[in-house]
Symmetry: D3
Amino acid sequence: MKRIITFGEIMMRLNPEGYLRFVQADKFEATYAGGEANVAVSLCNYGMDAAFVSKVPAHEIGQAAVNELRRYGVDTSLMIRGGDRLGIYFAEKGASQRASKVIYDRANSAISLAKASEFDWEKIFAGADWFHWTGITPALGGELPAICLEACKAAKKLGLTISCDLNYRKKLWTREEAGKVMAELVPYVDVCIANEEDAKDVFGIAATDTDLNTGKLSHEGYISVAKQLTERFGCKKVAITLRGSISASDNDWAGMLYSDGKASFSPTYRVHIVDRVGGGDSFGGGLIYALLSGYDDQKAINFAVAASCLKHSIDHDFNMMSVSEVESLAAGNTSGRVQR
Amino acid sequence: MKRIITFGEIMMRLNPEGYLRFVQADKFEATYAGGEANVAVSLCNYGMDAAFVSKVPAHEIGQAAVNELRRYGVDTSLMIRGGDRLGIYFAEKGASQRASKVIYDRANSAISLAKASEFDWEKIFAGADWFHWTGITPALGGELPAICLEACKAAKKLGLTISCDLNYRKKLWTREEAGKVMAELVPYVDVCIANEEDAKDVFGIAATDTDLNTGKLSHEGYISVAKQLTERFGCKKVAITLRGSISASDNDWAGMLYSDGKASFSPTYRVHIVDRVGGGDSFGGGLIYALLSGYDDQKAINFAVAASCLKHSIDHDFNMMSVSEVESLAAGNTSGRVQR
Amino acid sequence: MKRIITFGEIMMRLNPEGYLRFVQADKFEATYAGGEANVAVSLCNYGMDAAFVSKVPAHEIGQAAVNELRRYGVDTSLMIRGGDRLGIYFAEKGASQRASKVIYDRANSAISLAKASEFDWEKIFAGADWFHWTGITPALGGELPAICLEACKAAKKLGLTISCDLNYRKKLWTREEAGKVMAELVPYVDVCIANEEDAKDVFGIAATDTDLNTGKLSHEGYISVAKQLTERFGCKKVAITLRGSISASDNDWAGMLYSDGKASFSPTYRVHIVDRVGGGDSFGGGLIYALLSGYDDQKAINFAVAASCLKHSIDHDFNMMSVSEVESLAAGNTSGRVQR
Amino acid sequence: MKRIITFGEIMMRLNPEGYLRFVQADKFEATYAGGEANVAVSLCNYGMDAAFVSKVPAHEIGQAAVNELRRYGVDTSLMIRGGDRLGIYFAEKGASQRASKVIYDRANSAISLAKASEFDWEKIFAGADWFHWTGITPALGGELPAICLEACKAAKKLGLTISCDLNYRKKLWTREEAGKVMAELVPYVDVCIANEEDAKDVFGIAATDTDLNTGKLSHEGYISVAKQLTERFGCKKVAITLRGSISASDNDWAGMLYSDGKASFSPTYRVHIVDRVGGGDSFGGGLIYALLSGYDDQKAINFAVAASCLKHSIDHDFNMMSVSEVESLAAGNTSGRVQR
Amino acid sequence: MKRIITFGEIMMRLNPEGYLRFVQADKFEATYAGGEANVAVSLCNYGMDAAFVSKVPAHEIGQAAVNELRRYGVDTSLMIRGGDRLGIYFAEKGASQRASKVIYDRANSAISLAKASEFDWEKIFAGADWFHWTGITPALGGELPAICLEACKAAKKLGLTISCDLNYRKKLWTREEAGKVMAELVPYVDVCIANEEDAKDVFGIAATDTDLNTGKLSHEGYISVAKQLTERFGCKKVAITLRGSISASDNDWAGMLYSDGKASFSPTYRVHIVDRVGGGDSFGGGLIYALLSGYDDQKAINFAVAASCLKHSIDHDFNMMSVSEVESLAAGNTSGRVQR
Amino acid sequence: MKRIITFGEIMMRLNPEGYLRFVQADKFEATYAGGEANVAVSLCNYGMDAAFVSKVPAHEIGQAAVNELRRYGVDTSLMIRGGDRLGIYFAEKGASQRASKVIYDRANSAISLAKASEFDWEKIFAGADWFHWTGITPALGGELPAICLEACKAAKKLGLTISCDLNYRKKLWTREEAGKVMAELVPYVDVCIANEEDAKDVFGIAATDTDLNTGKLSHEGYISVAKQLTERFGCKKVAITLRGSISASDNDWAGMLYSDGKASFSPTYRVHIVDRVGGGDSFGGGLIYALLSGYDDQKAINFAVAASCLKHSIDHDFNMMSVSEVESLAAGNTSGRVQR
């Protein structure tokens, strides 16, 4: 069985029930999520052996985060206990013209204050095939950029494939900071995942002719972004998700996988959204599964986009879909007929 | 007041809240439902006198099923108490491209193990005008095929109109078994209800030129199915529901009523789905009401389709609509404006 | 800071959870709302100083209504305590072709039995800039028509701008009663708000060429209604909301502001509805904010319509939106992308 | 099977979840209850044929009240539809030293405005063995005192046993009004049920040596009250419940049945309260069952008190206990061991 | 780290919310539990390495059971997938004099139909120190008695300590069947756990002078039971739980551990019950932890009883307590003061 | 009307539903609370004019805290907006022998990082009669000790009465730090509130002969503590709460007020706990009300203890009781009989 190591922050996610706004809520649903943890859960749901590396406080709230991962099969034996707090993010679900809203309360989390000396990367990567991280991890600051660099070097040395979702977060660092740090890290990345904003925010690499709000997508623009990333950092593959935001309730969703100068585009799905947080991570999870399973680019991008299309129909961050369910959609079964 | 006897299984339905998947749920909504029970509730909501015949265990879970029927006015005085368990089905609501999913746990239910000697059909049918059952009932196995046959014979003898919804369930029996048993029973049926799949699955009678998944409907194909059913079994009327599955969230919905060589088609409604389980049963309920009320075919199919269109907007299996509400939609009022 | 006085009834609103019908519900969400109270909350959310004048019983249910207003910043210091009951309305949310339904149980509420002697309008209006009421208030009967008249006279005397939403409620009074009473009151009104039905129901002023159910809107018709209202009662401005009811789940929504012979139309929004009760009131709130802020007619109607468009995405009557959120939509940002 | 007719008001009961106070609640559990309806449900749970006579509005809220009764087997075929509103009561659960609180909003309910001409008592009582009402029914005012008198006369004429729970409600009428009306009605009563306060409030008949708050009970005092009631009105039996209020969480509970100059006392139970509303009604239900079943006085009072003891452990007004469960407690099984 | 293998059935537990009776519930909390699974979770909470061996269907409901175990750290890698259904039990919480009630729907579960050939016990026990099962496992019938025998033989051969909780279930088998099967199995047991009823039901070994319902406990009687078990089957240790059922809300709870002719009694705790299902299993979990940790008998029984005392304060079957929390109570800290 | 200024931190409180442990919860009830805010709400519930001074972030979570205070009538016009986060505390409710548990996540909250320059105390105290703070406020660190000192000086200068609840929190500072800071602040305090632990933790002033866990209370010991506080810091009055922790479910509760060498003891209440968090604050609220109302010491301590006794029966931190409800208990009405 293929083994994947993911590394990053896991937070408590607190969201009001249904479509209530923050100020209307007197009850919050509590789940535990984070970009890399979400990918690990996707991979476990596809039957792979995924571990999540992070640091959480040695109290019950930290334990609850560990438990949520264990529940879905993630190997949590590599997690470090310590520090004072688990990061929190508040998520309010939008609808129609009203946007979803996220308030972060993640400063000073256990992982953000972790020390490089706490991680023995060669030991962590023992027996693993793949290493996945996102741009959020170094953005946490402190020793994290250095820790990420060490991890990448160790992974490269041990022959793991490395994937990274650029995932720019403007609340965590400036474009300048991101650009500087990521430029050191991305050269280690084999599979680079981005959306059209990330590449621009982090590296100033722009997709031409795209209007994010109207959702008009230009294939040429995306190819150009992928090409620039490949040329600048030597990534073997670049995957870009294409979101057309019609409203907070309805989106178009597609993706492109670029390698060896060739771009493969998935079909575009019109999704009626239940919860779109974690949509990008479910794309990453699908892509890693597909590539580790030896799919060709077209089949891989189709799987990754079908997987993440389905994520939009599921509450909370994790993508609770099986391989057969994703394959069914990728094969064109979009009708949603009752499975008895 | 017209009196209708329905016969079949009532199960506990357990569904996660909202759009949660089974593995995410730690709470289930419990209702009690079954194809024929759902029809009985529809008819009571239209002011008719409907009774439901079945067998449930003599414990609180069995009683809860009885209570749910009584709550909505169904006559439960003919129900038998005994056996060990009430069948259960788990229902997960799909959304967008993710299909709804049903897991049955109904083997060895009280009704499936019932004996023919427990039913005195002439007594049961005393004072009744109509007998309704579905293909699920004989599919339960054991003595049920024989019991259905006895029921049909008694109903025929006493002059009741008999309706049957073919309702093929592949988890309960094979197409061969179904075809054999139903071929003995359907000759007693006056009003045969089906969807395009049922007729094919049970009797190999196919609708031509229809793609279930894309939802493209061929009127000619449906007429051909109805004609074949009429000719083969002598049914007086054949009603077929036409579902176009755009996604798990949006469906097209229409129906056809065929009699005396003439087909009447309803308008097609685009429904935004709250809960589609029970949609077919609500069609049956509407149709029986309309026919018992002496509506002509066009008015009857329009009522039945409007009734079942509205069902899709209601949670759980039962169709909680009044005659006036259905009539309002059938009359063309599709705007959904607030009724103050 | 601008100060607005609103006057009317506040009721307990009881609605089943989600899309359950009344007869399925064994739990009701309780909020507190009313046309004028809803406007006051909107204005507080925009940072204005709004007070609500009414009478509620001196028991905990009355207090809960006061508390809900205080929670969102409404000045409740002018409210009178007394009487026996708080009015109640039951609200059932529709979906797809099934209409929402409201059952009123508001007779004999504390405010409907209030006496003119309980209100010292000159004191109430001290320091205020604007007075808002709706046609529901005099429709409550008893001394309310007289009280409204006194209020209007005092407001006029003190130089407040007066706005009125015609808001015809056929359960409260006949068209004849409404027409007679409102004809005395509307001459005091500076800003008259209506939908196309109100003007017709109350004053027999019809919008030509409009089919409410199909949602086809005739701009000319609305201008004609506004012109007639202006000419007949001397209103300075007339605002009309334009609702196209596609279904209970989807509506088109727009508005027009007419003054000095000139009509300004907003863009039309296709809204996917979370809760449309209070939609009209949120338009009033947005309009008053815009006019008090000195916006020109086009900017004002755009703000009011954007505000009320967003209301449709929020549960319960109150419109929980900030000025910046409304401005963002009014500026054309309809994509609903996640705000992190 | 014995048939019992009960007559009175059924209301919507709205209570906050758990121990929340009214002003903390934003959700209410909705059930439907009333002194006489509660008795009818008890009797159906014991396998008897109980009907409830009342009037409810012809809308969904009225229907929901009917449905709740049907759900538990009550015959609702005698209920009248009409009028404007269903009475409501808000119930807040106390705990420890904090008392439970009830706010009534029942004025102008459909039943309180019902006309004598709407009730054909001889038809209503056809086939019945017993008639039960409480002092709340005439207290509703309007024609209710006269209707109760007609009902009692008809019941007497047809040979039914008549029971009445005095149930004085100070919010509905004064002691003087109650005393005058009840003095005309109680002479028809065979079985009179009271607590020590009722007899005093309605007829000035006092239990000596009892301190309601400390819960110290004097057997002699209760016998004296019963004797006086018997002598003054000719009741054959008088039953008195004895509540010792230790706190809102813990009560002592016992009862006495007096007939032919002889008093039978039940054991006293220390109850840990889940919900005590409906406790007195469950005593009435148990007593009627016991007497209709031919139990002697000691066995009857033991059954009635065991039944009502158990009610205190059940949420909402209805006493959901079977005969065998009550018999088990009456036989001394107080241990509450798990029944597997 | 000590490794414990537990073997038995895991079921879905469905319980109404709060104190609702089954027939009042329209929502059930779903957890997954079983006597041996509960022990495994206890041990994981104490930091040990516990695995659970069973068979569950290869569908989402079976997976949810696995997930619940994984969530709390149980090793589920030995579980077998297959069969048709997961057993279910419905649990209704009692209060005061009303007993809790359990309805089992476990016939034909995947584990009850498992084959001996599916279990390779020597492989299962590799690296393990302890094997725990209960009398429920062979009571499931089919090949389970034989499977248990094989397991015991293998465990004995490999030098594991074997513990068994007699746990007689009269719904699963008769006393005669139990006696016969268990007499073959218990000779392999090192640590035998029972309550006073089990020993009597299974082997006819009675505790003298004990009245289960009044909760009066005779120390001599328990010692006599333990002595008989030791002598008859050669168990090294016998542990007996002592429950005094004051009511469904309050119990006394204590235990005895007997070995080498010497009985150690724990203190008796008066517990105010939140949920007592799983109480016995939490005793087993505590005892195994204590014995594996090398505690002497007095310390072991004190730990086991403190652990299970605390279980009564926790909802659902699993005992979610840490070693330090149990130790704190065992050390005499019964005050329940807030831990900040 | 008397005006009270309270100063401190308000946090988001997140607690699992019912008795669930943290690791079992997937939903948290969110309320907003803090020692001084709780006192302000108590005072508003008694009809006084209380303002709360603090700093909360300018986002929706901060606003929700403000709204919760406004809802219950607290004047929030003095609150400062800014900073990054609102402090959070997680609260798990204990039962029986299982203690309640609180996990704080309050570091770096907006108020803890507030600057002295943000508070203009003379302006804040304009028109006020009383200033209340607790030992938690300076324990937050940063400039808070200095801010408290400035506040006390300004309050003293303007003639306000100053009360302080010592409220030692070991997670916030050491005993040494507390002792040093509080020794500078308490000399300004007129009314000092403490429990027997606080005085010892902060100032090393011990109550003799008291065993906190067994709840045995020595009156002499408390008097000795009060006397020492008075003599050392010149406080005019010292109030001490006396909690006897029988279990997490049941406590004894009493209090003492000491002034001019004389101690007044309240009665002791046995409370059955719904939620004890905020119990001490409700004592403070009751005491300030009583003293501002001119009650003598005995009446004041009786009111304060009755108020806080009742708090234990109410969910969440705020004490939602009216003066008349408290007076009723203080007058000896402990029976908890239903108030209709």
